[in-house]
């Protein structure tokens, strides 16, 4: 949820709401899907609803002060171990920031596949998509994020 909205308090609020929704919807849960996939689906739908209502303001709350340094390049430097922890934090912040710039659909599929590690089938169930659509959307999302991170990745 945090990866989707990029803001911890908002993510916690949304997580609470998702669990409450899931609790209310539990009698209608069919065991055709795993409980976790079902939860992802509720979370995704709720997220899209909230993001649709509030626009992108939620995900832009942390988009202040993009670092000028190249944390990814620095992180690759084995000699900079003292600074590495700080840079790693900055790297995560940059990736999160660039994730937030993606569309919710691209963000969701990257979160589910590359961060949460779901299978294509699970993603298809959670996002209510065909398998082919999952693959093509995943590729486009990765390519888009790659372009946004290019200057940090190329160093």
């Amino acid at each position: 949820m945090y990866r989707m909205v990029g803001d911890r308090p908002t993510a916690e609020d949304l997580t609470q709401e998702v669990f409450l929704k899931a609790y209310e919807a539990l009698p209608r849960f069919r065991k055709a899907a795993a409980l976790s996939t079902w939860l992802y689906r509720i979370a995704h739908n709720h997220c899209l609803n909230v993001l649709g209502e509030r626009g992108r303001e939620v995900v832009m709350t942390r988009a202040n002060g993009t670092p000028d340094a190249n944390p990814i390049a620095l992180a690759a430097d084995p000699g900079a171990s003292a600074e590495q922890v700080l840079e790693q934090r900055e790297l995560r912040a940059i990736v999160q920031e660039k994730l937030n710039e993606l569309t919710p659909e691209h963000r969701a599929i990257l979160v589910l596949r590359d961060i949460q590690g779901l299978s294509y089938d699970e993603i298809a169930t959670a996002l209510h998509l065909e398998g082919g659509t999952v693959r093509s959307r995943l590729h486009r999302a990765r390519m888009e994020l790659k372009e946004k991170l290019r200057r940090y990745l190329e160093a």
Partner: protein
């Protein structure tokens, strides 16, 4: 193959999803194309960076907050009932529909197969006299027979069922006559209590016919009502025995009384008169008789006379 086509497949190449032939084509291209190799490297780093993002620790207060916001009580009895009745909808609603259908079909079948149910709403059609009639004549099978006819041939009013019931009506006529005689000898008050049973009443017959239009059972009942007509007009409906000190004078007086009541007197044999008077005048006739002597039979008054209309024929025997 163009670089664009190759780059479209880099994600699948990274995921190792390509078949051997397609994979070989891409690897051949990558060996020759530095630009595509760079793109592949950047894509690989992008994915690796995403995968390196650490799992977030869930704040302990999140679980507590969720717990606080969950309903403290379970579902209400009503919610439990509706849940028990209807969920899952896709199973229970069709089941309930089938059950309702079965109950409905069963009810219709039961209604059709049980004559008591079909008969139930009808009592208002037959006036009280019909049930008295039934009681007065004992276990007559005419009503049941008529009802069976009613169900068997509802489209043919009156004709066929009337013919079939005729024989029973005849039997019934005899029974009524016997009953009248017995009742006359037993209790003169009895007939007054149930006048319709013994004597037909034209307006009632008309009414019943009207109500039972197209109803063979009604026609059969009408026939039953007609049966006593012959009984009363053909022969004396009751015998009256009058004990008098002066039979000759009594005969004269009876003739006077009957004349005053617009009736007729016929002397059948010595000491016995056949008297025909309007039914409604019978009370006055009996009262006149009592002035002439002692009524041996019936001991009280007016044994067989209905209160309304129609002639009543009595046999009056005079004994000294």
């Amino acid at each position: 193959m163009q670089c664009e086509d190759i780059r479209e497949q880099l994600s699948a190449y990274l995921e190792d999803e390509l078949e051997a032939g397609a994979r070989r084509v891409i690897e051949d291209h990558l060996r020759q194309c530095a630009g595509c190799r760079t793109e592949l490297t950047l894509l690989r780093r992008t994915v690796a960076t995403l995968r390196s993002l650490e799992e977030l620790e869930v704040s302990p207060r999140l679980a507590a907050a969720v717990d606080r916001r969950l309903p403290t009580r379970g579902p209400s009895p009503w919610e439990r009932l509706t849940s028990w009745l209807f969920f899952p909808l896709h199973v229970k609603v069709p089941l309930q529909a089938v059950a309702l259908l079965l109950v409905s079909v069963g009810a219709v079948y039961l209604y059709r197969s049980a004559p008591e149910l079909a008969e139930a709403p009808r009592p208002s059609v037959a006036p009280q006299s019909a049930s008295r009639d039934l009681h007065a004549t004992g276990p007559a099978s005419v009503p049941e027979e008529a009802d069976r006819l009613d169900r068997a041939a509802p489209a043919k009013p009156a004709e066929e069922p009337a013919g079939r019931v005729e024989g029973q009506a005849e039997t019934r006529k005899e029974r009524i006559t016997q009953e009248q005689e017995r009742a006359g000898a037993r209790s003169p008050g009895f007939r007054q209590e149930a006048p319709a049973a013994a004597t037909p009443q034209p307006e009632m017959k008309a009414k019943e016919k009207g109500e039972a239009f197209g109803d063979t059972a009604g026609a059969a009942r009408a026939l039953r009502k007609q049966a006593p007509v012959g009984a009363t007009s053909a022969s004396p409906s009751a015998e009256v025995i009058l004990k008098t000190s002066d039979p000759t004078r009594a005969i004269v007086k009876i003739r006077e009384i009957v004349g005053a009541l617009e009736g007729t007197v016929d002397e059948k044999e010595e000491g016995t008169l056949i008297v025909t008077i309007p039914a409604k005048a019978s009370a006055r006739f009996f009262s006149g008789l009592k002035d002439l002597g002692t009524l041996v039979s019936p001991p009280a008054e007016s044994p067989s006379t209905p209160s309304s209309e129609g002639p009543v024929t009595l046999s009056v025997r005079l004994i000294p």
